[in-house]
Every structure is written in C-alpha cells, then in structure tokens.
C-alpha cells in the first residue's frame, strides 16, 4: 500500500468504477521513491481546489499496476511514476518520471479545464 493521503486504486473494479463515475481522473502509478513522492504531494495539494478531478494513486508493482503499465501511451516509458490523465474514460495525457506542480497544473488546465470560479489555488 502506498503511504499517501490519496485514495488508492487496488482492484480492477475500483479502476473501472473510478473511470466510469468521474469525467476527469488523474492516476499516479508508482512506488514510494524520490521521483514518485513529489507527484503524490502535488496531487494531495491540488485535491482541495481541483474538485472536478478525481486524484488517485496506484502501486506500480501491485496486482493492478498492469492496467497502467500496459497502456499503449506508456509503452516508451522508463521512468517512475507513470501518471495518466483520463477524460471520459479515455487517456488524454500520460507522463513519465517526476513532474512539478507547474507541469501538472498545465496538463490539468489543458485537458480538464481550469479551476472553477471560487476555488483557491
């Protein structure tokens, strides 16, 4: 289990229901290493204000890590974590290796729209 404050996806059923029930989903698939922890930290910060996005983590070596690892968009990836952004169940963007707050918010703005009026960021 990843030691983060994010909701974890640990089963295939959770993965599919998350994508079905949320228009915009960001999943960070990683371990507890130095490239992954900063991304979890960014997601935890953004959860409060990006209420139109479901933020989840997934264990790279866990029983359902293959759902992200084997995506065609992640085929060339060789750096943890694999972070995938889903819009209406389809992959909108995928990144490999560490990402900064700015890099993540740029993608969120482009793929999922900016923070709604009234939300603080």
């Amino acid at each position: 289990m990843l030691r983060t404050n994010l909701k974890h996806i640990t089963t295939e059923a959770e993965f599919h229901s998350t994508l079905q029930q949320n228009k915009n989903v960001m999943i960070c698939c990683g371990r507890m290493g130095p490239m992954c922890i900063p991304v979890y930290g960014v997601m935890e910060e953004l959860e409060q204000t990006y209420t139109h996005v479901a933020f989840r983590d997934m264990e790279f070596d866990g029983p359902v890590g293959h759902l992200i690892r084997n995506l065609p968009e992640c085929r060339s990836f060789a750096g943890l974590p694999f972070t995938v952004y889903f819009n209406e169940g389809k992959v909108a963007k995928a990144t490999s290796s560490i990402q900064t707050m700015d890099q993540v918010t740029d993608i969120l703005a482009k793929e999922f729209g900016k923070v709604r009026a009234g939300a603080e960021h």
């Binding site: 507890m32 290493g33 130095p34 490239m35 930290g41 060339s76 750096g79 707050m101």
Partner: protein, 314 residues
Amino acid sequence: MNRFGFDVIVLGGGPAGLTAGIYCARAKMKTLILTDGTPGGQMILTHEIANYPGVESTSGYELSNIMKNQAKKFGATIKSNVKITRLDLQGEIKSVEVAGKDLYTAGAVILSPGGKSRSLEVWGETEFKGKGISYCATCDGDFFQNKEIIVVGGGNSALEEAVSLTQYAARVTIVHQFDNFQGFQHAIDEVKANPKIDFVMESKIIEFIGDESLKRVRIQHQVTQEITERAVDGVFILIGYEPNTESLKGMLELNQWNEIVTKENLETSIPGVFAAGDAIHKRYRQITTAVADGTVAALGAIEHLRVAKTVSVV
C-alpha cells in the same frame, strides 16, 4: 493582496528548514515554513538513511514526515508547493509574496533553499526524461534489464550508482568530463574492478537522439573535440547538485560558487536574514550538518528578534 504576519519565515522545507521551524516554533515564535516542493528537500531522494544518529535505518520520506509533523506539533505553519513571486529582505520587516496574492511578513527570515540537481542542459534532455533519461538509479534501474546504460558523472553518486546498475544492465559506461574521478578511493576502486563497467573520460554528451524513447547519444571528447555517436537505452545523469540560489542573486552576498555567505551565527549580509543547509558555503553536506545549521540559524533569528524587539503586524 492578503497579508499575514509572522515572527519568522523559513524559505525551504528540507532538513535545515524543518529544523529551523521546529526550534523557532518551540520558542513560541509565530513561524511559517514555505517550500516550493514537497517538504523534505533532498531527504526524500534517499531510499535508505542509515547514518542519522539515533535512527538505525529509515527512509528519507519517513524522516521528512517525522520532521514535518514535529514542526507542525510545535505550531509552525507549513505551506508546500508554493510559488514565490516577490521577496523583499531589506528593512526591519521582510516580506514574501506568494502566487501574486498572499503577502507574508516577518522580522526574521531563514533561507534554506537547498540544492538542485545539475542538468547537462543538452538538447533532448527534457524530451527524453523518463523515456531513457533518469536521475534515480534506484527508481528506474529495473527498466533497463540487459540494456546498455550510460552514467554521467564522476563523483560518489555516479560511481556508486554505476555499480548498482550493473545488477540490471548488460553494460554500464561512465562518461565523465575530467580525466580522473572525484569520488572516494574505495568507490573508484569498485568501478574499476567491475567487469561490466567501462569508461569514456574527458568527454561530454552533447546531444540525445531518439524517437519515442532515447536511442543514441553524441559524445564529444573535450581535448580532441572528436564527436562519436553511441547507441544507448538509458542515461543516468548524476553530476551533483548546485545551490538553489538563482533567485537570491543581487539581494545578498553569494560567493563565486553561488553559495550564501554567512557569519558564525549563520546571519547573511542582511541583518535579520539567516541561511542554513546546502545552499550556504560549507565543506560537508549531510542531513546532520543541515540539521545543525537549521538549529544555529533558528537560535540566531530568535536572538535577533529579541534584541530588535521586532513584532510583525498584519
């Protein structure tokens, strides 16, 4: 602009900054710690810490969490992943503007911006990050089973990680800009004795080439200027850290290596501004020395405030 008053503002959330926050908050100073990333600084880059006194073994992440929670327990406010848009260190009251909308003021500031990984600043480095280029052997080594790997660097990190990567790679080539290594002798002896490691010395990578992922690099010999191309699956860039002081240039005294110059009590060239950790001029950079710096800087800041009898007002 929203305005918030504190007694001490700590810029940086690594071991130096968190320690300074602990000491200041425990001394009943209204304390704010601002960090542009996740609290922990370079500590979270370390999978295992085995030489922190009193702790036989822990991860950098665990130790960061303990320090962060300890600072919070004493009443420090921690804001992470912030973007500082303006910094004014002059005068009795210093101010830090965040995201162009929040202004934090204090009678003392402790700078602990730490270090950042050096990059090669070569074309393709950003494009192939995570697609062949890595900065963490422990994280990404297993993506390169039986592959060709290059390690760039000549210090302890590069040498130790090169040895570590031989458990995965078919071959590891160390590319280093000088004709000798800068690491400890035992690390040098270990790489030289490893049959899976070879060396390209006095050379630099000048370009990364590939399509979906990295495929080749161009290497230039620094003396002959000869350029060669080499097929590669992964490159691990381990060329050390530099002080994260770019934003402080022109504000206070930095030395020729852009390290913050401090007095014995870690006060900088600006009264009421102290500095701690990897960004200051010092010989040894360890978690323990950062913690010591944080302590000294905090005590200096506390004494400064008591002498100045400065109170931050909103």
